[in-house]
């Protein structure tokens, strides 16, 4: 149950972020154009969209972190599989297991480093001061971002969150591999939604159809 909610949340988040980032940049460019047209200019000039680029970058970094976790579950991450495929199955098994645990180790370390960074850069202050209303002494409040002026610890928290999620995914995949011997595999050569037969039918109705039949005769 918990897993299913997490899966959906992850997919929903990356879908939303890539769509929203595209929209933000599109609107920012439109705004720049509109600002060169005399009548509309008067209205658009009042809107400040200088934060658009920054927002787009943050959305994509968040997408990259959570998308990477999604990628572990779906096997999109590319690796060098020459040796794994050359070895007999019972030996390759240990190599795969090592690889998955190494992934969990790396993401775990990085997540912890990121969490410490976020804690020292304002999360500690925010927790104590804003939430609990305690006297914080000389804890640093932490810097803010240049355009959006939000606390950087909020933005940077994608590193611990995304990395821990990725770590969890690696362990999940590892567990399933040990139990069922199955690995998620993303076939980069697979052509999604394109059925060859279907497409030939479409082309048969195009302008080349008549020509095609002519050539066969």
């Amino acid at each position: 149950m918990f897993n299913r909610i997490l899966d959906h949340l992850e997919e929903w988040l990356i879908t939303f972020l890539i769509g929203a980032a595209t929209l933000v940049i599109f609107l920012a460019v439109l705004h720049r154009f509109a600002s060169t047209i005399p009548w509309i200019q008067d209205y658009t000039i009042k809107l400040d969209v200088s934060w658009a680029q920054e927002l787009c970058i943050y959305m994509f970094v968040w997408m990259a972190k959570f998308g990477a976790a999604y990628g572990v579950r779906h096997g999109t991450h590319v690796g060098v599989d020459v040796l794994v495929r050359a070895l007999p199955k019972d030996k390759a098994k240990y190599l795969v297991m090592f690889g998955l645990l190494a992934g969990a180790l790396f993401t775990g370390i990085v997540g912890t480093l990121g969490a410490r960074f976020v804690w020292d850069n304002g999360f500690h202050y925010a927790l104590m001061h804003t939430l609990l209303g305690q006297d914080v002494g000389d804890l640093p409040e932490g810097p803010t971002t240049p355009d959006l002026e939000i606390h950087t610890w909020i933005v940077y928290s994608c590193v611990p969150l995304g990395s821990y999620l990725m770590c969890f995914r690696f362990l999940q995949v590892f567990w399933r591999f040990v139990r069922d011997g199955e690995l998620p595999h993303h076939d980069h050569g697979h052509v999604e939604g394109v059925d060859p037969l279907d497409e030939t039918e479409i082309i048969a109705h195009g302008p080349t159809a008549a020509a095609g039949q002519g050539a066969q005769r």
Binding site: A21, T22, G99, L113, H188, V191, G193, L197, E199, I203
Partner: protein, 440 residues
């Protein structure tokens, strides 16, 4: 000694089959934990700041645009247009395939997207016309590689990112700036056109030799109709390339505009993509770009390690002290890259190798832009031969041919490409002529 440890560790980790991004990251962590004084905290920050640059965001946008174009019926109409123009020549559909790949490459940034988009329509159609399967597969798998040479190209963006901000010096010690995305895109046009022409010539000769079917000449009315149908897709070339060079957009903005435009024509003009399928396209584009961005992040960490250990500088010094000239170095680069192409994904190769080779190349007097194109052509060759040639796997997915059979099928075109690679390597003006012309 440290250099040796780093590379051996990286190689061993990679061979276990773990994701390339993880093996890069683990190498850096191991090294930092044990052998240096660099504060480990800087790693966490680097994981964020490594990709917080607006130029990098061109990658997800171009992937999204490519995703919409692949499923949105743009390729189909381009193919019809190409077939109506040159289908009556020898090997007509093959030539039309090359032309369609070149046109589609000019609106999408990836080779695989090009092979998928053009191949999934063209290959079944060619078989129907009586072409042998292997001929069609050979043409499309190799022509699809044009995707990373013609602008926009995700690979060239990667090269620009990987080398940006490096302080490198030329042969006489003067500082040399790295190549911008705009310059690289411009430089890719002429070599792209030449390669399309060469692939076309190869196709024509093979078709003539084996007397493959030709199509009846289309009337000018049919051509006009095919052109009008495909014009929405062709306009995207104007939006992206025209937009960047007229200074209207930055490359990243152009990529975002391309994504919105591709969405618009796929859903509202051609109506081949249903609105309810859009979230799925978004999701798969997000997954693909996250994978690439994750490699970028870790490659940034890796090149940070390289720089702090002064490895490229040491290599450059060794090269010059051995008296290796430009000719030998470029040959060596080609061999290394082609060898790496046997094991790794192009994006990963560019991100790992560019920061290492770039300073050496510049030291020996190679133009940064020329070097980027050279790497791109190398990646193209790598995409078309086993064991990891992604284009082959895509073509195999469409045609249900085995990889071994496909390897034989692509041979004539692959040889053409290798010949072309030598020309690109030793004739810099081919890549540099257009950027220099427009810079003046």
């Amino acid at each position: 000694m440290n250099t040796l440890i780093i590379f051996v560790l990286l190689l061993v980790l990679m061979l276990t089959g773990m994701p390339i991004s993880i093996s890069l990251g683990l190498t850096v962590l191991t090294f930092l934990f044990t052998l240096t004084q660099v504060p480990i905290e800087s790693v966490a920050l680097k994981l964020f700041t490594g990709i917080d640059k607006f130029e990098i965001m061109a990658i997800p946008f171009f992937i999204l645009a490519g995703n919409f174009l692949t499923h949105g019926g743009v390729a189909k109409r381009m193919i019809n247009f190409c077939t109506s123009m040159i289908g009556h020549w020898y090997g007509g559909m093959g030539l039309a395939g090359v032309m369609a790949c070149a046109l589609f490459a000019a609106i999408s940034g990836s080779s695989v997207a090009t092979v998928v988009a053009v191949g999934s329509i063209m290959l079944p159609a060619m078989v129907k016309q009586g072409y042998p399967k292997r001929f069609g597969a050979g043409v499309i798998a190799t022509s699809g590689a044009l995707g990373i040479l013609f602008p926009p190209s995700i690979n060239l963006v990667m090269y620009s990112i990987a080398t940006a901000g490096m302080s490198v010096t030329g042969p006489s010690g003067q500082p040399v700036g790295s190549a911008s995305v705009g310059q690289l895109f411009l430089a890719g046009i002429v070599p792209g056109l030449v390669l399309s022409f060469l692939l076309g010539v190869t196709t024509w000769f093979r078709a003539k030799k084996f007397d493959y079917p030709r199509m009846p000449r289309a009337s000018w009315g049919e051509r006009w109709r095919a052109f009008r149908e495909s014009v929405w897709g062709l306009l995207l070339i104007v939006v992206v390339i025209g937009g960047i060079y007229s200074g209207v957009f930055t490359p990243t903005e152009a990529a975002a505009m391309a994504a919105v435009y591709a969405f618009f024509i796929s859903v509202f003009v051609y109506k081949d993509l249903k609105l309810k399928d859009v979230p799925r396209s978004l999701k798969s584009a997000a997954a693909m770009s996250s994978m690439l961005l994750y490699i970028v992040t870790n490659a940034v960490l890796f090149s940070f390690l390289m720089t702090s250990e002064q490895i490229p500088q040491a290599m450059a010094a060794w090269m010059t002290s051995q008296g290796f000239g430009l000719v030998v170095f470029l040959l060596l680069v080609n061999v290394i890259l082609l060898a790496a192409g046997n094991f790794m994904d192009p994006a990963a190769i560019v991100l790992i190798m560019a920061p290492i080779l770039f300073p050496v190349a510049v030291k020996l007097g190679v133009d940064p832009v020329h070097f980027g194109i050279l790497m791109a052509v190398n990646m193209e060759v790598g995409l078309c031969h086993p064991p990891v040639g992604l284009n082959l796997y895509v073509a195999s997915g469409i045609t249900k041919m085995g990889i071994t059979e496909l390897t034989v099928a692509v041979a004539p075109w692959l040889l053409t490409m290798i010949g072309f690679l030598i020309v690109v390597t030793y004739w810099p003006s081919l890549s540099l002529w257009l950027p220099h012309l427009l810079a003046r």
